[in-house]
Structure formats: structure tokens, C-alpha cells
């Protein structure tokens, strides 16, 4: 690999790293043909972790960081002074294949600044995916971040090659979008999501390949003053209306060459974490947004404790739940019990009455669960209602930022 290519890679990986939506999950299971390269199994693998604790799964790069747009939160906006570079289609294809053959990556996550026009840019990205799939028989994962301002036909074509397409919402309100991303429009973003949703659903019914891992989006947290509850309401709507596979939350990160209209302060990283937990409760634990919001104050989630515990502490009258009797829905609401633990409890209690020891072997979160549970040999008694319960269950604060 020559130095020129390495230099471009440095610039264009650096420029892409603020995008959080890089999971390689959800693709249908497939294996390489005799002349092909690559496989997917639906889960995706993290091949490495960077010292920020994040998974390196895909080669996450921009095709170019030249950009005609001027989104305030983005290092690549046209008015920033960063170093610029541009890959050719062939260079991206080569990097993807060569990294993949050495087992460094699961595939490619390609995004781009906008050069010449949204259509031109989107077409170049589509060509990368097409070359990989059609000409190089690449069966690994491909995620394209589509450009909502591009013509619809490009999305139609891109979906033939990509496992997942994403369209970033970026900011939760039209008003913030106007202020911080003047060239973008909420309407074209949601129109593109709607188009994608239809195509994906139809292809599934008709058993054709079209973005089989669905579509996802990313919202930047902390660049404007939207509350957590409002963010979650937005996500909830997106999940319902556009059948998104995932909404990613990206805590606004200070960037070199920051724009003067942005807050200089980074939101606490814990906020992003709590949003992911809340999102999870929304999708898998039967909570609705208002219940989650109830656990916090003024629409913001509690940063010290997770949203499920926060909800339980404010709803103590609904506890304790009996591990041997309570229905699954109720057990899912017990802090410290995950979905798997609940499944295991439900399976195990068919054979014997469970004692606290048994529960301990089925979950790692017993300490948090105990005040909310009844087992054959355990009743929390007054513990559930103690005034200092919150303090007892709050993990000691750990500085999560640097070291």
C-alpha cells in the first residue's frame, strides 16, 4: 500500500469517525461462492477495539471530505479548514478487498461529503458498491450512507448492492436543521426514509434482495437543546413510521475546526449511553416513551442510574415481583433482569421453585434486582420502600471521560 493511499486513508477515516452507526448486523446469512470472497451471518464481528472502547467492524471511510454543504456540527463542512482528500472508486474497492482478505474487517461503511451534486456523489458511492458486488464478487457487508438530497432512482439502485442503507436525520427538529444544516431539509430526509421503507418491505415479501439489513439513522445529541424525552419520541415515531432497524445516538463531540454557532461543551458521554438503554427498553421491554420519561426529571434521563431502575424506583408500588409467579412482562420490568435472564427464569421455574441462589446463577444483576423480587426463600420486606434505596443502588461515580 503506497504512502499516498495511506495518507488519504488517514484523512478520510478521521473524517468518518464521528458517525456511530457502524454495526455490521442484520444481513442475511450468506457465504462466499467458489470465486467470491466474504460471508455474513447476521451478527457481525468486531475485529478490533480502539482505545475509546469502540468496535472496529467495518472499514468506515468517506469517499471524499470535500463538501459543498455547510453543516455546523461537521468537520467536513465547506467552511472548515481541514485537510481534504478524495478516493477514487477503485481505491475504495481495493482497500475494502485487501483489508477483508486479511480478516481486518467485516465490510465497508461508506459515506461521503457532497461534491458537484448530491446525485453525482451518490452515484459514485453506488458505483463502489456495485463494483464490489458485481465485478469482484464481494459477499461481505456493505453499508451505504445515502444522501437524501439525491434522486430517488439512486436509492433504488443502491439498495440492490448494499446490506444496509442509512439516512441520517442528524438533528431532531426542523428548526435545528435550519439553523445548523442550512442545505438540509427534514422533508427530503423523511421522504427518502419513506421510499426506502416501502422498497425494503416489498422486496422482503417478494423475496428479492434490497437492503436486506434494513435502514438506520443517526441523531446527534447535544448540539441543540432537545430533551431526551423529545429525542425518544422522535425515535419512537421513526421506528413506527419508517420501520428503522436502528436509531443511533451520537453525542456531539468537539471537533477540530468547530463552528462558532455550536456549544463548545460536550454533552456527558453517559447521556448517549442512557439514551441507548432507553431506546432498548422501548424496542424490547414493552416500555413506552412516557414511562421512561417518568424516571427522569424535566424530560431528561437520570444520568446516575439506568432508565429501568429509575422507572422502578418511582413505581415501587408495583413491586416486589415474585420470580415464581409473575408474568414475563412484569419480570422484564425488574431492574437487573435482562431479557435472557427472564427467559431462563421462566424455563427454570417450570421444574422447581426458585430460590435467591438460583436466580443469582441466572442473572448477573441480582444486586439491583433483589429489592424488587420475591423468591422461594426471599422477601425484600421494607427494603423495597426504603428511602435510601436509590443511594444503595447507584453505582459509584466513575469518571467516564479521560482515563
Amino acid at each position: 500500500m503506497d504512502d499516498k493511499l495511506t495518507t488519504k486513508l488517514r484523512i478520510l477515516a478521521d473524517a468518518a469517525k464521528y458517525d456511530a452507526s457502524c454495526a455490521s448486523s442484520g444481513a442475511p446469512k450468506r457465504t462466499a461462492g467458489a470465486g467470491g470472497l466474504g460471508s455474513t451471518d447476521g451478527m457481525g464481528i468486531c475485529h478490533a477495539y480502539t482505545p475509546d472502547g469502540r468496535c472496529v467492524s467495518l472499514l468506515k471511510i468517506l469517499l471524499t471530505n470535500y463538501c459543498l454543504f455547510d453543516c455546523a456540527y461537521c468537520v467536513n463542512r465547506r467552511s472548515s479548514n481541514v485537510r481534504r482528500a478524495r478516493f477514487s472508486v477503485e481505491e475504495v474497492v481495493t482497500l475494502t478487498i485487501e483489508f477483508y482478505r486479511r480478516n481486518y474487517i467485516e465490510g465497508l461503511f461508506l459515506s461521503s461529503g457532497i461534491i458537484r451534486s448530491p446525485d453525482y456523489t451518490m452515484e459514485q458511492m453506488m458505483l463502489v458498491a456495485r463494483t464490489l458486488r458485481r465485478d469482484r464478487e464481494f459477499a461481505g457487508y456493505i453499508h451505504l450512507k445515502t444522501i437524501p438530497e439525491a434522486s430517488p432512482w439512486l436509492i433504488e439502485q443502491a439498495g440492490l448492492w448494499a446490506d444496509r442503507l442509512s439516512i441520517n436525520l442528524e438533528l431532531p427538529s426542523e428548526e435545528s436543521l435550519k439553523r445548523l444544516a442550512p442545505e438540509k431539509e427534514g422533508a427530503s430526509i423523511t421522504a427518502a426514509m419513506g421510499q426506502m421503507r416501502e422498497r425494503i418491505a416489498e422486496a422482503k415479501v417478494e423475496r428479492r434482495r434490497f437492503s436486506p439489513a434494513g435502514q438506520s439513522t443517526q441523531i446527534i445529541v447535544g448540539a441543540d437543546d432537545t430533551s431526551d424525552a423529545a429525542l425518544l419520541r422522535t425515535s419512537d415515531t421513526l421506528y413506527r413510521r419508517y420501520a428503522l432497524s436502528r436509531v443511533y445516538y451520537s453525542a456531539f463531540s468537539p471537533i477540530p475546526e468547530a463552528s462558532p454557532v455550536l456549544p463548545l461543551k460536550q454533552p456527558p458521554l453517559q447521556r448517549e449511553n442512557r439514551l441507548y438503554q432507553a431506546d432498548w427498553l422501548l424496542r424490547h421491554y414493552g416500555f413506552d416513551v412516557e414511562e421512561i420519561a417518568e424516571g427522569g426529571t424535566d424530560g431528561m434521563l437520570d444520568l446516575e442510574i439506568d432508565p429501568k431502575l429509575a422507572w422502578a424506583l418511582k413505581n415501587r408500588h408495583r413491586f416486589p415481583a415474585d420470580v415464581n409467579e409473575a408474568d414475563r412482562e412484569m419480570l422484564l420490568r425488574v431492574p437487573g433482569l435482562g431479557k435472557r435472564a427472564v427467559d431462563r427464569i421462566v424455563a427454570a421455574r417450570r421444574h422447581a421453585r426458585l430460590r435467591l441462589d438460583d436466580v443469582a446463577r441466572l442473572t448477573a444483576g441480582l444486586k439491583r434486582a433483589r429489592p424488587f423480587l420475591i423468591a422461594a426463600d426471599w422477601r425484600p420486606g421494607a427494603l423495597t420502600d426504603r428511602a435510601d434505596l436509590r443511594a444503595r443502588l447507584t453505582p459509584p461515580t466513575r469518571q467516564l471521560s479521560l482515563f
Partner: protein
Amino acid sequence: MGLRRIALKQGADLDGFRLATRRLVAAGIAPHDVVWCAEDTPVLFPPQAAEEASPIALPRRVAELIEVVVCHRDPERYALLYELVWRVLQGERALLEMQADPLVHRLELMQKAVHREVHRMHAFVRFRRTKSRPNGPDHFVAWFEPDHFIIEAAAPFFVDRFRSQIWSILTPFGSLHWDREELRVGPAARREDAPDGDGFEAGWRSYYESTFNPARANPAVMRAHMPTRYWRNLPESAAIAELLRAAPARATAMIERDAAAPAKRMPEKAVAAMGDQAPASLAELNRLIAASEPMVSSGSTRAVLGEGPVGAAIAFVGEQPGDQEDLEGRPFVGPAGQLLDRAIAEAGLDRARVYVTNAVKHFKFEQRGKRRIHKKPAAGEVAHYRWWLMEELNFVQPRLVVALGGTAMLALGGKAGPVTRMRGRTTFLGRPGFITVHPSYLLRLPDEAAKEEAYRAFVSDLRAIRRIVEDSVTGGAADVRRSA
């Protein structure tokens, strides 16, 4: 009865364990009377042993658990597994569901450890390219040090993924070799047997460094997922120490640096020009369509474009090109097209003055022997082409759009339905429209009388179409008529 000593091979000896278990069970020997050990060259059971010992029926989950746990490096694994088998056979059939049972709990932890190690092998193997002989094909070789006896369990992943390349994975417990056709399990290897570098490692390390965000350093999480014992075989790990050392300074610098004054480069012209991306003419649109990939499954590679003058008063929209259209690259030239021509002429319209196109631009077919049999495009496939059709009509600007058949109706109006019942005037999303049958429908009718009747009805539809268009033109004859 005294203690039985069972010697199995080193590593994961599933076959040996299976055979021993069958014999022990057959002889009714309880777990506490057996001692298990692993040897380099155990005395194997006599060959006839395999036949004598009959298989034991175990719940599937138990069998699966055994397969995994034999790979664990814990010397007690066989004893624990035999105890599991014994108890299951003694009547505790659902034992594995009792995850609270200490034996089950322990075996599950072991199973998890093995799974995790397999997963980590999939993640952390790093190939280096070399040549097994000068001018020979590329050979990708990796050195890896797993914690359990998992290389065979991990192998299928590498075969599925790297089927077209020649590769070897060398470990202290054995090695895997794939020659594009067959997987061979070989003897243990040494680190020196693997190549010591690769031309892409520096690039990979650069990528790794660049994708790290110094404002979010969190080495504890990194170590939890990527334990340090793997680091010496990961080329990127060489960068970690320096990245962490420099992170605080880099992060502070980012925050403290004053918000940058915007660059002078304000590409106003380019920004203005980018709004102008829509194809400027029908010809330009057609170039895009022609260069596109078929969006119907098993479609031909050639797009068949619309034909006729821009500004035509009538646009006919069919379903998709057929076999002949695909070969010639023009719409409505096959049997259905010829029938359409005849009917158009009979209705007093001029074929040269109307626009003809298809809802779907590629031929979808099923290969049967030498013949390509037309296949109806699915609703989603029709939708893929819709934007193009709408753009096309925007350029042509016909006064009336005629849907020939159900697919065209679906494409134009977004709704499907029985054509015969919806036949006649309509509007397609605000555009004046008309629905009639597709000429290929006439060709398919079995008896001549019905065919003739349907053809008459079709021609009378075309006459009605002609009248509509003529009426829509004020002060003068429409330009749709056949010049005599």
C-alpha cells in the same frame, strides 16, 4: 468395582469421549468410578469397540453441549460431561433446563467460554500474504494462540468467508490449511513458521489510529473486549500506547482551540450549481436508465427506452419489454406491439406521433430451455421504476396517458385492480389518463370469436382516446390523426 481409567487424546477428543461414554454406560459404571485423562498417545479402544458399543439417545441440547465443552481446556471437562450424561440417563431428562443446578451452571460457563474463544478467533486472526512458491498464487497465513482446543470448531467460518483464497492458520495446538477445495488439519506450529509482516499492515494501523476519537478514550472497555493476551498477534495493537498517551492533550487542544474563522473558500458557484442535478432532457434521463442495473430479478441487461416525440399528445405505457423488444432494444416491436400498431392505425391515430414506453424498463423472464418466458414484474419491482416513468412523462408532457394493462395502471396510479372493471377515463395522480387492456391480453385469448370481440373493444377504446385528445385541444385539429 475399582476405578476405571479412561485415556483420551490431547485436545478436543469428541470421538474418544463418545466411544468411552457408550461403553461406560453399557457397563453401568457410575461417574464416581471413572477417572479421565488425556495423553499424547492413548491406548485406543480396540477397533471392534465401535461396533459393540451402541449409540445412546440423548436430548439434542445435551449432545450439542458436549460437542462444545470437549473443546474446553479444563482437564475436568470429560468427568463433568459424563456426570451430565449419567444424570440425564438416570431420568433427569430436562436437566439442562435447570440452569440453577451447579453442574449445569458450570458446564454452561464452560460452553460460553468456548463459544467466546471461537468468536475471538474469528475476530482476531490476522492473515499475512506470502507466496508458497515464487510466482505461485497468494497464500494467506496467520499465527494465532487460542485459549481452548477450538481450531476445528472455528474452521467453517474461515472456509465460508475465504473460500477463494489459499490460507493457513497456525497455532500451538494444531493448524488449519485450506487450498480452495479442502480443509486439512495439520500438526502444531511455531510462530516462526508464519510470515512476519504484510504490505497492508501499516495502512491498517493508520486506519486504526485515525478512527480513534481522542475525546472519548476509554481503555477499560477496550481491554474488556480485546484482552491484552491477544495483542501480540494484532498488528494494530502497536499503536495503542501512543494513542492513549497523546489523547488528553489532543482532546484539550480540540476544545481550547478557538472556533475557527470560516475558510475563505466559499464556492458559491458550485453551491448554486449543485441544485441543478436533475436530468435536463429526456435524452439525458434515458442515458441514466440505459446505464442502470435491472431492478427486476433475473432481468436482462439491456434497458428498453421509451420512443416517440417529446410533446406527443398521447403516451402509451405498457408493462415491460418482451423477448423481441429486449433483443432489438425498442419498445412494442414484438407480436403485441404489431397488434397495437394495427389497432392504432384502425382508430385513425398516427403511431409516429404517439409516445410509447413501459412501466418496467427491463425484460423479466424465466429461462426454460432455450426459451425466455415472460414473467410478470412484482409490485415492488414496478415501484423501483416508477420515478423514471414519472420523469419521462414530465419531459414528454402528453395530454393523455394511457395505461395498457394492470402493471401500467399500478405504475401510474399506485393502485392495482381488475383492468376490465376500471377500463376507461381516469386520472393518474392529477394527470388525465385512460385505462385499457394490454394488447398481449388479446393475443392470449383462446378462441377466435372472443379475440375478435376484444380487439373491437380495444379499437373502440383507442377511438375514445383519440376523441378525448382532440376535444382537449381548443381551436384546431389535434396532431394525433393519421395523415392520409
